[in-house]
Amino acid sequence: MINLIGFELSKLFRKWRTYIGFLAIGVLVPIVQIVLHYEGDRFVNMALRSVQQSFMFDGNLLNGYLIGYLILQALIIHIPFLIVLVGGDILAGEATSGTYRMLLIRPVSRFKIITSKFIAGIIYTNALLAFLAFMSLIMSLIIFGSGELIVFENILYIFATDDVFWRFGMAYGYAALSMSTVFALSFLFSSLVENAIGPIVATMAIIIIFAILSALNFDALKVIRPYLFTNYIADWRLFFRDPVEIKEVINSGVVLVGHIVGLYAITLYLFIKKDILS
């Protein structure tokens, strides 16, 4: 199995589309960092305007943690686009190019092939998140230095310098789980068709529709909201509350893991039964 995963990763990281996500993050994050370097103070003052009459702020507020938080908040919405570019292609791409035939006549079971592809995709997803963490948090800490983190979400939270890094670690871990769910969905769609465009569009369409349904504040939609995985995708923010609502985090995490396992199981079932006609 390890050989197979290596085989899949070897193919994956030799495709140019695999690097689109890294390239996008590698370009976007420095742009945001440069902009905040010049306009960051104005941004912080504007954000804290409503509370500055009651509190006095001192120290390095525009620090690496704040910038890391802002970038994570802004970019995590768009990361699914980058994930599905690879996830939608991972099986459909083999069908399009005809290499399914080459692959599936080897003395390797379909279970192993699907599982290795799935794991390779999850590794890619996590690598992209790790790169985002490096660019947005580590680089920001290097450039802007450390300090207290101010988070303003209905309630103003101020986290001490030594109380922040672990929160980012957990938040990125949770974000990786969210993005793995997106990958698992695109992986399922990718197994159904012979062209990568369909899975990419279908996955994004589902994410957008579910996200809108999650956001609309109608009573009638409250019934279905718990069943929409998009409802849990942004729960990495739970780690930036005090205290962290562990029960809610676990509940959201279990829903996402359930989705990942369920989507993988459906893909496996369909793929094992599939006639390879491409």
Binding site: S10, K11, S97, V108
Partner: protein, 307 residues
Amino acid sequence: MSDEKVIEVKGLTKKYQNLTAVNNLDLNVYKGDVFGFLGPNGAGKSTTIRMLLTLIKPTAGDIKIFGKPLYANRNEIMRKIGAIVEKPDFYMYLSAFKNIELLGGLYGVDTSKKRLMEILDTVGLAHRHKSKVKTFSHGMKQRLGIAQALLHDPELIILDEPTTGLDPQGMKEIRELIIMLSKEKGKTVFLSSHILREVELITDRMIIINKGTTQIEGKVSELLNAEKITVTFELESSDSVENVIAESSWGNKLKAREKNEFIFDVGAEDIPAMNSFFVEKGVNVSAIIPKRSLEEYFLKITSGGAV
């Protein structure tokens, strides 16, 4: 050829809703055979090959390969098979070397540079081993397809129309390679082709299928001998010649006439006697063109002729 069956198929059937692609097909391939698998487009050849390689699940029927049920022993059996299914497709963004290195790795065989270069050299691609496959011509991809099929030194080689799209020289090279694999290395070869002359040149035994069912199966030499041939005599063109023929015992063998070409349904052994007959009658014979090929036989059968 031995009596040991390498492929044994009984009652193989594949249905897609209202379409029956393969219907109750039986076939046997023996160790050391070069087995020709013939049929027109849509006959069910590729579907059968895909079932033999577990790409498609049969609706009914049994497949045994190397004496063992295919699906119960899939991985063990596939380890001993090398195949090209339809056109060989590779990872276009990888080099030829990387492609076979990765595919070879799935068999757990020696993928050292020396070994892989030997394989590439066998199919004449060693000098292009660093080139990405997307720069390859169709013929080069076909040869790389053969290379990947031979990577793990398989006992059975299944080739689905391996010379499609090749130029005459390329076809000749592939034919010679198949013959070498059979004669020198003792491989069993299952060859699907629509180029019937090629099958006639290479194979020992054959089956012709049409609309998913077996039309005929047997040794190529026996099937050919069982067929009468057509002989075209180019004679001096005059009405008297036609009268001469009509009054002779050859009259009822005359199949058609086109200008000075007289086409007879006869046996090969009749040609000398016919030639002597025309010479005795003072008729000038400018050419004798016998036609006996698997192609005519194949066309006759697949067009709904005698079976």
